[in-house]
Amino acid sequence: MAHRFGMAVDLDRCTGCEACVAACHAENNIATVGDLQAARGRALHWIRVERYFEGEFPDVRVKYRPVMCQQCDAAPCEPVCPTYASHHNEDGLNAQIYNRCIGTRYCANACPYNVRFFDFFNPAWEKPLHLQLNPDVSVREVGVMEKCTFCTQRITAAKIQAESEKRELKDGDIKPACVQSCPAKALVFGDLNDPESEVSRLFESPRGSRLLEDLGTLPKVAYLEGR
């Protein structure tokens, strides 16, 4: 395996501004479903900022936790998919092939993080918003599952760029939309197979832990938090 992409999330830096959510929507052509459908639980957020509250009112502390696909090495979503739409690719990512998906939604039920989303309707963008669609990302039709890809289109673009310049990928070449847009620099992306990369260094941090790591899913997202 040449690459093993992972992400570190510094919860002490996260301000809960949700710029990552907006950037992800824009980058990945994620449909906005409208208030009615959102109220019915059909909103699609490949990354979301979970809010948890500590203490009793008025002495309350709010904690933010951005949650996206954890790109598990032992992903529960993969073995249950009957059509291989959900599978592990050569970069260690959980790829989702929209054209293979028939919408059993089994992967979402198996996913402990609930980061997989179902397209309940065909997506639609009011004019002129259709002009802002990202041409590098396919638009998903009704009846399939979709989820965070770590911006696979940016990974591919960076690889092609590096190849054309006859060099190896270097740390910082790839920035998923959420990482790029994070004003607090709470998100760090990189190759875990490169021991010198920043994300590898953060994965070693004593402040780090994985989300629901006792489930044995081997997630490739580390959360850093002062204890």
Binding site: R40, Y84, R100, I102, Y106, P112, N114, F121
Partner: protein, 450 residues
């Protein structure tokens, strides 16, 4: 032919040869409900799955509940009939066919739900290992692919098991009709003439099928339970699910059979064939299964409670005393309290009593499946994603339509095929010693009658 034999034939052929206006009314009524369900499904496909109440993160709801429910109902027939045949229980004779038909139709209906619930139902064949031009196989690690094999095997087996003992009856109908009907029944009778060698072959084939279908039936509902227990979801990931589901399936299956038999008895005037003793015997079976079901439920619940896993206890509490508590305790009452009272006390174990208990069990077992599917999905590991589910008209209509479809198929079947096996009844009254040991004679389990 003796007098009683003639009476048997004329009684049991009566529904086939005489049709009243009530039959047509019933068929039209049921067919319109089925049509409404089909239209709902078409609407769902046309506008998208969003017309249902399914939502993030409760991606399975009514449809999967219905799927498990109908596959459960299908366990009445073939399994009971196979076991009763193998132990050569004499009282099985008027019961077996009504039971086997339930299996066939319930499986066809249940088998539709995994397709109805797909985001892209028109691509359902991707679940099968068909010769794809892109050389892509289904993922054999996925329990949904196992489902496909399990259900198609069970359906094929049950259809054979249903068809084999119908052959001599088709021949009887052929001999009592004229014209086109005679031709069709003649084809279905496969040239049956009732020679000794034909009887021997039929008996042998039925013995083989009866033995083969039992492990298939057990495996089918085990595999259905694997749909849940293979996923690391709170209260799904449980080793008890296999036997729990099989027991629940037989439980709801017997209830379905009792309701079907009581309805047939009343509307086709089969009082002379379906005696109170049949209901009493099935009632005792239902009581046994009710106790077994309660035992499994108790086991499942108490281990979760004592295990006190962070996420599991939450699903547990939400069903036990939270949002789903009314449904949970209703389930306990109709699946355990009422059946044990009605069927445990001899005085109440009448036909009416059995039917009341059976209706309760059908409701209770549907609720059981709902309470397995939904609370777990709504209470997974991250509290941020906790949610609830309310069905919308689409899935309610489709669910209702499947019940109508079951009654419709059953009604039509009883119209075109003798619902009580004529030759088996005759064989029970006049056993030919070399072919059929007397019903009361000792008979080794699984022995071929030859």
């Amino acid at each position: 032919m003796s007098q009683s034999s003639n009476r048997l034939t004329s009684d049991l052929l009566h529904p086939l040869l005489n049709t009243s206006w009530r039959f047509y009314t019933l068929v039209v009524l049921l067919a319109s409900v089925v049509a409404a369900g089909l239209i709902s499904w078409a609407v769902q496909m046309w506008f998208g799955f969003g017309v249902t109440g399914i939502k993030w993160p409760i991606y399975w709801g009514f449809f999967i509940t219905d799927f498990v429910f109908w596959i459960g109902i299908s366990h009445a027939g073939t399994l009971i009939s196979a076991i009763l045949r193998l132990v050569n229980a004499g009282w099985r004779r008027p019961v077996t066919r009504c039971a086997e038909v339930i299996t066939a139709f319930a499986l066809m209906i249940g088998g539709l739900f995994p397709i109805i619930h797909l985001g892209k139902p028109w691509l359902f064949f991707w679940l099968m290992p068909y010769p794809s031009s892109r050389l892509i196989w289904p993922n054999f690690r996925s329990p949904l692919v196992w489902d496909f094999f399990a259900i198609s095997t069970y359906l094929t087996g049950s259809l054979l098991f249903l068809f084999l003992p119908m052959i001599p009856d088709f021949a009887i109908v052929r001999d009592h009709t004229t014209g086109l009907r005679r031709k069709i029944y003649g084809l279905l009778a496969l040239g049956w003439r009732g020679t000794t060698s034909q009887w021997h072959r039929l008996e042998t084939a039925m013995q083989i099928m009866a033995i083969a279908i039992i492990p298939v039936a057990v495996s089918v509902h085990t595999i259905v339970s694997f749909d849940f227990s293979m996923a690391p979801t709170p209260m799904w990931h449980s080793a008890i699910f296999g036997p729990y589901f099989v027991a629940g399936a037989i439980f709801s299956g017997i209830a379905g059979l009792i309701i079907a038999m009581a309805t047939l008895r009343k509307f086709l005037h089969l009082e002379a064939y379906l005696h109170p003793i049949h209901f009493e015997n099935l009632g005792k079976l239902l009581l046994t299964m009710s106790l077994l079901w309660a035992y499994f439920t108790f086991n499942e619940r108490i281990t979760v409670w004592y295990g006190n896993g962070v996420s599991e206890i939450n699903t547990f509490l939400v069903t036990q005393k939270g949002t789903f508590a009314p449904l949970f305790w209703l389930m306990v009452v109709v699946n355990f309290v009422i059946p044990v009272i009605i069927l445990g006390i001899k005085r109440f174990r009448t036909i009416t009593g059995c039917v009341i208990a059976s209706f309760g069990v059908c409701v209770g077992m549907w609720l059981e499946r709902f309470l397995i599917v939904v609370p777990s999905l709504g209470n997974k590991f991250l509290p941020y994603s906790w949610s609830y589910y309310r069905p919308r008209p689409t899935e309610i209509l489709i669910t209702t339509a499947t019940f109508a479809a079951m009654i419709l198929l059953y009604t039509l079947f009883a119209k075109f095929v003798p619902i009580i096996s004529i030759w088996e009844m005759k064989a029970g009254e006049h056993p030919a010693p070399q072919l059929y040991p007397k019903t009361e004679a000792e008979h080794a389990l699984g022995e071929v009658h030859a």
